[in-house]
Symmetry: C2
Subunit: 230 residues, 2 copies
């Protein structure tokens, strides 16, 4: 049941920073991230991630995706922790039924005064767009008129491997319209260069049964990847 996992893949060609497969945040990095979190940042924008990553890199190697994931996870885990604490609170309320002394953690409350919440007495002045923000999901805040829409935020992203990758005819390589953040990830995909599959055990995995009741029209671009050796 164990699929041979290479004990230590040669990775790519990085100097020798860290052979570990996952990011290991330094104390400082954590502190900064939490600081920003307490400021109210939940899901940083691209620019924000850029900036944060850039700054955090001073304290250890880090990538954009790490920052992104950190906020994701932190948010989620704060929430679930809070949820179960809230549950414990109400549970306690049921057993002893006096007045609720101090409301422990308001479950999905979003209101917060201007006093900073936590031991982090910091006060980051959100210089270049990173800083105080209003959460976009409670209702719709929509502050200024300079924004495009109320909520669109961040996307997913694929990353290409730095292994030999042909230049591709497309143009979105390094345009200023987008920027890359995340490292590569070879999927559980058959990386066969296109030679080993003859015609015996093709096994085209069609997990979802094919049911498209519309376009039986044969289109002229089936094998659009060129290498169509008969």
């Amino acid at each position: 049941m164990e699929e041979e996992k290479p004990p230590s893949p040669p990775s790519s060609s990085l100097p020798a920073a860290s052979p570990s497969s996952r990011w290991n945040p330094t104390k400082e990095q954590i502190a900064i991230l939490e600081g920003l979190y307490w400021q109210g940042i939940r899901t940083p924008t691209a620019d924000q991630i850029q900036h944060i990553t850039g700054k955090l890199r001073e304290y250890g190697s880090i990538e954009g995706k790490n920052v992104f994931y950190w906020f994701q996870n932190h948010k989620a885990r704060q929430r679930q922790k809070q949820k179960q604490e809230s549950f414990a609170y109400f549970s306690r309320l049921l057993h002893r039924h006096p007045p609720p002394p101090p409301p422990p953690p308001p479950p999905p409350a979003i209101s917060c005064s201007n006093v900073l919440c936590a031991p982090f007495c910091l006060r980051v002045p959100q210089v270049e767009g990173v800083g105080l923000y209003k959460p976009q999901y409670p209702h719709v805040y929509l502050t200024g008129g300079a924004m495009k829409r109320p909520l669109p935020e961040l996307q997913r992203m694929e990353m290409a491997s730095n292994k030999t990758l042909e230049p591709i005819s497309s143009t979105d390589q390094c345009s200023n319209e987008t920027l890359q953040l995340f490292p590569l990830h070879p999927t559980g995909i058959m990386e066969k260069t296109g030679s080993s599959l003859s015609s015996s055990s093709i096994e085209t995995q069609c997990n979802e049964e094919g049911q498209d009741e519309e376009g039986c029209e044969i289109l002229p671009f089936f094998n659009f990847f060129g290498d169509n050796r008969s």
Copy 2:
């Protein structure tokens, strides 16, 4: 109750393609994507998305994220459609209880012969890594040894806006380790340049109550974004 939506935003500076905020795929693009899907591709790799996007661009403007999302959505919706069909099947079984004539759509089945499923008689020869693959989630297939892990696949990604964005001191701008795919997305964030918030209604939104029971240590890099106007 209606927030004035501009009848026709000047967009950015694109020729005249489509001022629409979301991609709408051409018939050909859909066909190709479905073709690939029937081939078994569920969550394409970075390279695959790159290639697919490149090819699909011949039939209309498209971005990597569109391809990514398409597969996500298509997969999910095929699944749910199949689920409810399966439910309808069993439901029918309860009312009329004869032998089950043809098993309609096997809910989570993954087996498929080498015969292509659908009207798409195409036979894409997966040239550069895009093509036949084995799904990674049913169990763990792990075909070759050239892959790193069984399942890691693709990441999320923020994208930066092409509006004036300072150069950032970080270095992962266009490294060959990662590549960008997705366009920008201005979050529901207060883009205030850092001048309007005086000290009245700061409202640092700390939705999740701050509870970090670990690092009260004040760190020396709170305002790491430079612009620390007192």
